[in-house]
Each structure stands twice: as structure tokens, then as C-alpha cells.
Symmetry: C2
Subunit: 476 residues, 2 copies
């Protein structure tokens, strides 16, 4: 029509149906709302400013720090942790088998690389693998789970090698099977608080309702049955909770309420073993999806994009559909790394001494970081840090003065985002605000990765202490 100037309104008959990108408005709007959710995340404000500051530093702008330390990711190598030599040697030997001719590599590195190359089509990590992953590597994973769980059976056909345990590609696939976007009442999934906000975005995008249950900060972020019960009560009349999502390394827990008996676990400790120990009928009926990845733990190989999911007690009919959801997307080198993750060097192997030294160093650094973080943070009355028993992050509570909270409001930021922004600006430290993860109303937190070299952590704590004193003085 005459009054259309390409304004791309879905209601305009000229625009609708004429061009792919216009006819697609409904899809775009759906995506749009996700993007909005994500872009509104407070973290992105910080992330953008970090890039600006880095550019300013490159251009020679003077600041009290020479580089930004980014500990907002669970990304150990980014923070300066060194990769494990055995992992990298096996990967390098698989990529460039000529390396095995010399005497630079230990015999167990060569044997492992040789064995893994034999599992690759054409003997090359450059060929495609089977849909669920390389069968021999799936076998290795299932034997590892069997050992880990003290003999609880593990069936290779229940294991899928996946590109990491990323929400976008892996957990969402499982949720697709679980969530019926058309259901009434809607499907509910119990999620912990704190928990990354992408979890809520993903659930909402699938048409589910996120039902938060609060972890107990005073008890070191433990999972408490009463909190689960409160969450279930809050869901009444709103949605039908069918799954429980667990991400913290707390104690295993099961629950059964009415006819609900489908649960869903994200594990660091073995919920599968705990389930088996409960015995029938629960051990044969509770459905469990447990994820693991080469990105976390001692390896920290985030860039390889490799993980696996084990599915327990799923209906065979559902398994058939899942077959189709996971298609052939884990890079072969990532699969090689998984094989090493589940079969590290053993005492007596030529690579064992170095492997032991490196892993002990990572463990000792982490223990030292834990000790120092608790010591330094808890030396401030305006900070409170629970003892760090597992996981890669500290999540201390910060008691912000009313004047700071007021100032944050003026800036249009959540109080803890305001704190993190000033921390970034003045101390060159990128932390995440608790707002990103959910927290009890009126409480504020900051979150940072503690898997760093010890000298990096000292530098972080020094900058944090200096900044925090100034900040508290300013807003006293």
C-alpha cells in the first residue's frame, strides 16, 4: 500500500508474506524476548564495559591496574590454570601421529593415542564419528561410571557424548522431552537459587515454569527438604512440577509427592549411586539425567566442547526419540579428551608421576585459594563467605550500606551490579553480581571463580580488599 515504507509491521498487508524476514515476525518475536531477557542481564552491562576498558588499556589510558582479571567465567585456563600435560600430549599425538616416532612422548601417551586412533574411521580424528559418539569411548565412559558407583550397572546405550554440558545444546535437549509447552497446568521444573539466570530463560522459552527452591546459605548452600516442600507448595495451582534440577555439590535427595515420580538431576556427586542404594521401586522408576563435561574439574578443557549425559530409567520409547536429538555434534578431539578424563594415568604408568604432580598442584592451589578467600573475605565485617567445600566459585554475601543501595538505584542498576561495576572500574576485576543467580530478597552477593593460580588469587584479593575499604568508606 501507499503508506507502507518498509516499516516491517506484522500487521501491514504489504509487508506480511512478501519477504522471509517479515513473514517470520512471530519467530523473531519469540527469539526477541529471549534476547531481551539475556541482554537485560546485569552481567552484560559489565561485560560490555570490560571490553571498553580493555580497549582503553590497549590505547594507553592510565589506570591503577595494567589488565582486567576476568573471574566471572568458570574457565580455569582463562584464569591462568595450566592444562594437564597427559591430556594435551595424547591430543597432539592423535592430531599429528608423526610425534609418536621420536622419544619425546612417554610410551603410555603413544599407546593411548594409538588405541584411540584405531577407533576413528580411517584412523584419523578428522573423520566423522557415530551419532552417539565413538563406541569404544562410550564403553570407557560406562566403565568409569560403573567403577565410580561401586558396581551399580551402567549401560553404554544410555550414554550420549555431547558437545559439553552446555544448556543450549545438551540440557535443553533433555528438557524438550520433559516439557510439554501445551500442557495445562504448565510443566514445572524445580530449580535451585542461586542458579544461573539462563536456566530460567531456557525453561521459559520451552514453555515451562521455573519453580525456585532456595538453598540455605547459613548451612553452606545446602539443599533442605523444607525448602523443596515450600517450593512445591508455591507451585500449587500454577504448574505441575515434574522435575528437580540440582547443580550444587550438596547431598543427594529424593522426593515423592502424590503421583509425581519423575525427577531430574545435575550431578557432581553420584545421585545415580544414591538412587541405586535406595532400592526398588524408586531405583527402577525415578528417571535421572546426569551430565559431566571435560570443561570442569581438573581438566578445565572448555574449548574442546565435550561432555556426556547418562540417562537412567527412561522409557525405551522416549530413548528412541532422544537418539534423534543428539546428532553427531561432539568434536572427535573432545571425545578423545573424555577418554582421558575417565581413564587418567594410573600408578605405575610412565606418565603418572607428572600427572600426579600437576593434579596435586591444581588441588593444592585450589585449597590454598579457598583458605585465603575465606580468610580475607571474612576479615571484613561487611562480607560473609560460607566455607567453600566444592565447586569452582565463591559466592560471598556483601552487606551494602544504604547509601550505596540508593546510589545504585539512581544509576538504574541492582545494588550488587553497582558494586561489581565499581570493582571493575576501579580495581580491574570482573566478578558477577548475585542478581544474576537469584538471592534472598534484601541480600546481595558477588561471585567469582576460585580456580586460578595462587598468585593470581593473591592479586585478586589485594585489589578486592583495597577497593572494598574505599567503597565502604565512600558510602559509610
Amino acid at each position: 500500500p501507499l503508506n507502507c515504507s518498509g516499516h516491517q509491521e506484522p500487521s501491514c498487508s504489504h509487508c506480511v508474506g512478501q519477504r522471509g524476514k517479515i513473514t517470520d515476525m512471530s519467530v523473531l518475536q519469540e527469539i526477541s524476548s529471549n534476547v531481551r531477557n539475556i541482554k537485560q542481564m546485569e552481567y552484560f552491562v559489565l561485560f560490555r564495559r570490560t571490553n571498553q576498558i580493555k580497549e582503553e588499556l590497549r590505547q594507553g589510558v592510565r589506570k591503577s591496574y595494567r589488565e582486567v582479571i576476568d573471574v566471572s567465567w568458570g574457565d580455569p585456563h582463562r584464569a591462568g590454570v595450566k592444562p594437564l600435560s597427559f591430556v594435551r600430549q595424547v591430543l597432539a599425538a592423535c592430531l599429528y601421529p608423526q610425534l609418536m616416532d621420536g622419544d619425546k612422548l612417554m610410551v603410555d601417551v603413544k599407546q593411548r593415542a594409538q588405541r584411540l586412533l584405531e577407533t576413528c574411521a580411517g584412523g584419523s580424528v578428522g573423520s566423522y564419528s557415530d551419532t552417539a559418539g565413538i563406541p569404544q569411548i562410550i564403553q570407557s565412559v560406562s566403565e568409569y561410571i560403573l567403577r565410580r558407583d561401586g558396581g551399580v550397572p551402567c549401560h553404554p546405550e544410555n550414554i550420549y557424548i555431547t558437545p559439553g554440558s552446555q544448556w543450549a545444546l545438551t540440557v535443553t535437549n533433555i528438557l524438550k522431552v520433559l516439557v510439554n509447552s501445551e500442557a495445562s497446568p504448565r510443566t514445572g521444573v524445580l530449580i535451585p537459587v542461586p542458579c544461573h539466570s539462563t536456566t530460567i530463560v531456557s525453561l521459559t522459552a520451552l514453555g515451562a515454569v521455573a519453580v525456585p527452591y532456595y538453598l540455605s546459605e547459613e548451612r553452606g548452600w545446602a539443599l533442605e527438604v523444607e525448602m523443596l516442600q515450600q517450593a512445591l507448595d508455591s507451585a500449587k495451582g500454577v504448574c505441575n512440577p515434574v522435575a528437580l534440577y540440582i547443580i550444587n555439590p550438596g547431598n543427594p535427595i529424593m522426593f515423592k509427592a502424590g503421583n509425581r515420580r519423575s525427577f531430574f538431576f545435575y550431578e557432581f556427586v553420584s545421585y545415580k549411586r544414591a538412587l541405586a542404594e535406595i532400592g526398588a521401586p524408586l531405583s527402577d522408576t525415578v528417571e535421572l539425567a546426569s551430565f559431566h563435561t571435560a570443561s570442569k574439574g581438573l581438566m578445565g578443557e572448555c574449548g574442546l566442547r565435550a561432555g556426556y549425559v547418562e540417562l537412567v530409567n527412561l522409557d525405551p520409547a522416549v530413548m528412541k526419540y532422544i537418539d534423534n536429538l543428539f546428532s553427531n555434534s561432539c568434536p572427535v578431539l573432545g571425545q578423545v579428551a573424555l577418554d582421558v578424563m575417565v581413564n587418567p594415568p594410573q600408578p605405575g604408568d610412565p606418565s603418572y608421576p607428572l600427572y600426579l604432580k600437576e593434579t596435586q598442584h591444581i588441588r593444592a592451589s585450589l585449597a590454598e585459594n579457598v583458605r585465603r578467600v575465606e580468610e580475607v573475605i571474612n576479615s571484613f565485617p561487611s562480607f560473609s563467605c560460607q566455607s567453600l567445600e566444592g565447586g569452582a566459585f565463591a559466592f560471598p554475601r556483601v552487606f551494602l550500606p544504604p547509601k550505596a543501595i540508593e546510589k545504585a538505584k539512581e544509576a538504574g542498576l541492582q545494588p550488587d551490579t553497582f558494586y561489581c561495576m565499581r570493582l571493575l572500574e576501579e580495581a580491574g576485576l570482573l566478578f558477577s553480581p548475585g542478581t544474576e543467580y537469584g538471592q534472598m530478597e534484601g541480600t546481595y552477593h558477588i561471585r567469582f571463580c576460585i580456580m586460578t593460580p595462587t598468585d593470581t588469587m593473591e592479586e585478586i584479593l589485594k585489589r578486592l580488599s583495597t577497593f572494598h575499604k574505599q567503597f565502604m568508606r565512600e558510602f559509610a
Copy 2:
């Protein structure tokens, strides 16, 4: 209710809403129909039998061949083609930088690895990269495209590094923006025939209509304007064609019909350059998405899962949404390989002589394979093979005798699947039937990868010739 025995019918009030997997029936049914489409593909019958035969051979069952040669994939390394040393050396050096200390690696390998490691967070390929890919590698890709297209501008912000150019992860993302599943009439996408059937499955799953246009076999599978016009005519009253999907290395072609001006290209030759040469207004308005991958071409690194897409003339509003679709999923080592792909060793570089020798060897092998395939296949009156000018596959027509067609019907198979099944059983060769890709009614084809070492191709042609003679005698 009393009469429910866990039958999982969506209509049963006992089942509905009780368990995640039941409430989810609508999603499962949708997935189910995709699975059915895929599982019904004739190729899967062959694939399953291949695995059985391999197992039989392992168990010592006697056959006229000692191993199955699988040339049904476009997977050069699987077929025995050797990886390029420079690619593998750079990757190995990035993974295990200690390799750079010795004198085993050329100085340009070390320099490249050093430069690439500097682009990785924390100097490790084990850390996460930015969402669209590592900025410096995106820059390399954009400079490569600029050179390739003789100076046609290429903007880094239009490039996304992706996990291969796989349908599942990459092309589908672009189609999501293009296809409105609610549109009436439905969105149409013109696709070539032959073309892999997953293309149709993906389009159908997104709610689009696949509008086939036939390539001209007599003219060496060329794209002809009349065929496109026929396809457009066939779409009238059925759907609204908004995009053209091109996968063969034919001549660039544009069309504009009525208000339609959104097209979509898959390129091996530069459609972007052709578009620029046409000039305004088309060159500024036709939207183009062009894909490339490390899986194809001289590298053949399928297992690394790396590719890129360049988006041209897309609406800035749409680009914002696309930002969110591609998230952080190309493995860092795959990105490293892309950098080498777009910047191979140049004359004068220490690695150039070996690189030249290896790539010349691959090219010469391919040329020899092309010559021999045409020679051998066309020596049979019951075969007809178009001259192979590009691409990694031969797609000869086979004139099957009526008795063979009848026998295939009895076996419940398409005639060319029947031929391929016998070829597998008797000669240990895994080819794909033309049925998988679409073909003119009453014609039959077989498809196999020609990117193999020359001795492998000789073995393939020997087995094929012997089998074909017997087969034609049997059904004469």
C-alpha cells in the same frame, strides 16, 4: 483409572499430567515423525547391514572381500586421504606448546601457533571463545573473502564461526529466521534435486514447504532457469517461495519474480561476488547466506566441527536475533583450523614446499579418480556418468533391467537401494542410492565419494565392475 495399565495414551486422564514423559506426547509425536522420516531413508537399511557385515568379518565369516569400503560419506579421511601436515602441526603446537621448543616444527608453524594462542583467553585453546568466534580469526576469514571476491567488501560483523556447516546446527538456524511456521500460504524454499533428503526433513520440521527444482543431468547437473521457473509454477497456490537453496558448484543465478526478493545460497563458487557484479539495486537487497567448512575441500577435517557463515544484506534488526542463535559452539581447535584454511602457507614460507606437495597430491589423486571413474563407468552401456567437474561425489545413472526392478519391489526396496544392497553384500562397497537424493522418475542412480587415494579407487572400481557384470547377467 482402573482400566489404565500405563498405556501412555495422551487421551488417558490417568496418564496425562502425571509424568514428564507423558505430558510431553505432542512434542514426542513431532520428533517421532522426523525420526520416522529419517529411519525410513533407504540409506539406513544399508547402514545397518554394513555394521552387521563388519561384525561378521570380525568373527571370521568368509566373504569375497576382507573389508567394507564405505564411500557413502563425504569424509575424505575415512576413505584414507591423509590430513595436511601444516594444519595438524599448527593444531598440535597450539595444544602442546612445548612442541615449539624443539626443532621438529618449521618456524612458520611455530609463528602461526604462537599468534593463534595469543588470541585465546589465557593463551590456551582450552578456554571459551567469544560467541561469534575468536575476533582475530573472524578478521582472517573476512580478509580471505575479500581477496576471494576481488575486493567486494566483507564485514567481520557479518561472519559467524559455526560448528561445521551441518544442517542440524547451522543451516537450520538461518532457516529459523526465514521460515514462519504459522504463515498462510506456507513458506517455500526452492531446493535442488538431487539433494540430500535431510534437507527436506529439516524444512518440513520447520513448517516450510520444500519446492524441488531439477538439475539437468544431461548438462552435467547444471542449474537451468527454465527448471527454476517450473518449480516456481509448481509452488503456485501451495506456498510462498522466499528462498533458493543452492548446493552444487554450478553457475551463479539470480531471479526476481513479483515481490519476491529474498534468496538464499549455498556456495562453492562465489555467489556473493556474482551478486556484487550485478550491481544495485539487487546487490544491495538480495539477502545471501553463504557457508563454508573445514570438513570439505583439501582439508577434509570433518571431525573438528568448524565452519563459518557470511550473512549479506540482512536487515540489522534480523542480525540482532541471529546474534543469539549462534552461541559459542565452535570448538577452539576448529577455529584454529579455519584460520589455516583461509591462510594456507604461501610461496617462500618454510612449510610451503610440503604443503604444495600434499595439496598437489590430493588434487592429482582426485583428477586421476575422476578420469578413471568416468572411463570405467562409461565403459558399461548400462551406466552413464556425467563428467565430474567439481564436488566430492560421482552420481552416475544406472539403467536397471526390468527383472531387477521387479525383484526390488518384491524385497520392498527402491530399485537403486536394491542395487546398492547387493553391491554391499557381494562386493563390500557401501554406496548411497539415488533415491536418497531425489531423481527424475524412472531414473536410478548411485552415489559415491571420489575423494579417496587412487589405489582405493582402483579397488572400488574393480569390485564395482565385477559385481555389475554379474548383476546385469543375473537380471538380463
